[in-house]
């Protein structure tokens, strides 16, 4: 009877040690989840006021993956992309890009990312080559020959001396893509890269993404179902801030549409 409080104390201490060990193992597995992937989002919640723009989403992605981020307007696609870039701060959860926090270490992360924002903002008063030269200098990469190479790659050679404001939407989109490609980033984040383009222009941009995606990880958002079928090798469907599907792109033609309609009501 006299030994009982001491025994209880030992048991308590042992259970505390076990709990701590469990925590360490959990943290380690979390870390390894982060380290094995190019990007890793774990239980991300993003609220704007009381509205959940993104509600507890988790996914990881590796090099070589071309992720089609599919969802209706306002589903949380752009918010998720901005979170990955560190342009927004998540309400809770953790994000890493190449194992580091994109907000705390933005200057380490951003050189590895090529980003095409949704509305493709460009400095319209600049000429195409001048703009790409500016972006290359800001990224502290590239020389004239690399800029020439990228201009040729996105087929804007004929407009390289034109003012951006005078270009068609398709050309502007290609300029935005060229800017994203400068510096040979390992991760490409493209927010609705074919939005507002005619079918011919869409095909050109899709072919271009396919071509450059081979050595990179690409995540592109869209609400155009055929785009995912043509480009992506992985599909994430997001609806009202939640991931409702994350897996391989269905192989059969038209099945993405069926899946999308079934999951997004």
């Amino acid at each position: 009877m006299l030994m009982q409080p001491a025994t209880e104390h030992i048991i308590k201490r042992k259970s505390m040690v076990v709990a701590k060990m469990v925590d360490v193992v959990k943290n380690k597995s979390n870390d390894s989840a982060h380290t094995n992937h190019m990007i890793s989002l774990i239980h991300i919640i993003k609220k704007f006021g009381q509205t959940h723009a993104v509600n507890d989403i988790s996914f990881q992605a590796k090099k070589g993956e071309i992720i089609g981020f599919l969802g209706p307007n306002g589903a949380g696609k752009t918010t998720t992309m901005r979170l990955i870039l560190g342009l927004l701060k998540s309400t809770s959860g953790s994000i890493t890009v190449q194992t580091v926090d994109p907000i705390k270490h933005r200057l380490d992360v951003l050189p590895q990312i090529g980003y095409l924002p949704g509305n493709n903002p460009l400095y319209g008063e600049m000429k195409v080559r001048e703009y790409l030269d500016f972006i290359a200098q800001m990224k502290t990469v590239g020389n004239q020959s690399e800029i020439d190479e990228i201009i040729a790659q996105v087929s804007i050679d004929d407009k390289s001396e034109s003012k951006i404001d005078e270009l068609s939407r398709g050309y502007k989109q290609r300029v935005g893509l060229a800017a994203a490609l400068l510096g040979d980033p390992t991760l490409l984040i493209l927010d609705e890269p074919t939005s507002g383009l005619d079918p011919l222009e869409q095909d050109k941009i899709k072919a271009l993404i396919k071509k450059v995606a081979k050595k990179k990880m690409v995540i592109f958002s869209t609400h155009i179902l055929s785009e995912v079928e043509d480009i992506a090798n992985r599909l994430i469907i997001i609806n009202r801030g939640e991931i409702v599907y994350d897996g391989k792109k269905p192989a059969r033609k038209g099945s993405v549409e069926k899946l999308f309609k079934k999951l997004v009501k």
């Binding site: 704007f48 951003l110 509305n119 903002p121 460009l122 400095y123 500016f134 800001m138």
Partner: protein, 238 residues
């Protein structure tokens, strides 16, 4: 940072509005002084330097209002923040570009001391050149403080007019604090504090040709404070 600085300078130089603002500043600065030069009857640049803060009150917000407000409106700020350049570098590049443009504006007024120097020599008198240099240096310091304030307003909004009005009103009150008009309406102690805080009081030493370290410290602190607040605002992630 150098690329962004160059881009901002090029925007002013490739844009008719940049030239118009610069020329208007030059014309007003020269005219306001020349029209009264014979009334003063003395070979001094002081009346000119006393006019400049009032001109800066309009000119600086006019050339600074777009710096961040326009980037926010057109979403190019998102593009800028997705590039590997720190928020501080962005702010410093824009600040230095605007300061360079203001310096260019001041260069347009150099005809005044040069012609005054020539005129006074003919008359057998001389103007004291170091006083003129210190005066210009003081104006440049004053301008850097005003630019920092205008940058801060520009980063707070996507509307250029709001940024312009916010800066002009703030600068107006800062200037008017030291005038007799404000002094008469305020209690003595408040009057003294406001008088000390007014850039007009601080620049006065430079106008007299005195390189006052306290005034130098005042303008450097003012610039750093508002540049810091601008960086903090830019670093905020919603």
């Amino acid at each position: 940072m150098k690329a962004l600085f160059k881009k901002e300078i090029q925007f002013y130089l490739n844009n008719p509005l940049g030239y118009i603002t610069l020329v208007l500043f030059g014309v007003f600065a020269n005219f306001m002084f020349v029209k009264d030069i014979f009334v003063y009857g003395s070979a001094s640049m002081r009346p000119f330097f006393e006019i400049l803060p009032w001109l800066f009150m309009i000119f600086i917000p006019a050339i600074s209002m777009r710096l961040f407000a326009e980037e926010r409106r057109t979403n190019t700020l998102e593009l800028l923040l997705s590039l590997p350049i720190s928020e501080m570098q962005i702010v410093i590049a824009k600040f230095l570009a605007t300061l360079t443009m203001t310096a260019l504006g001041l260069v347009l007024t150099l005809g005044l001391p040069i012609s005054m120097y020539a005129l006074t020599q003919q008359a057998g008198a001389r103007i004291y050149l170091p006083e003129v240099f210190v005066g210009y240096f003081g104006q440049l310091l004053l301008a850097s403080g005003f630019i920092a304030i205008s940058l801060f307003y520009s980063v707070k909004t996507k509307n250029q007019i709001v940024a312009f009005l916010g800066s002009v009103i703030t600068l107006f009150f800062l200037i008017i604090f030291s005038t007799d008009f404000a002094a008469s309406a305020l209690p003595q102690i408040v009057q003294e504090v406001f008088n000390y805080l007014s850039p007009l009081t601080q620049v006065d030493n430079f106008i007299k040709g005195v390189l006052d370290i306290r005034s130098l410290f005042y303008f450097v602190s003012m610039s750093l404070l508002f540049l810091f607040l601008t960086v903090v605002d830019l670093e905020k992630r919603p």
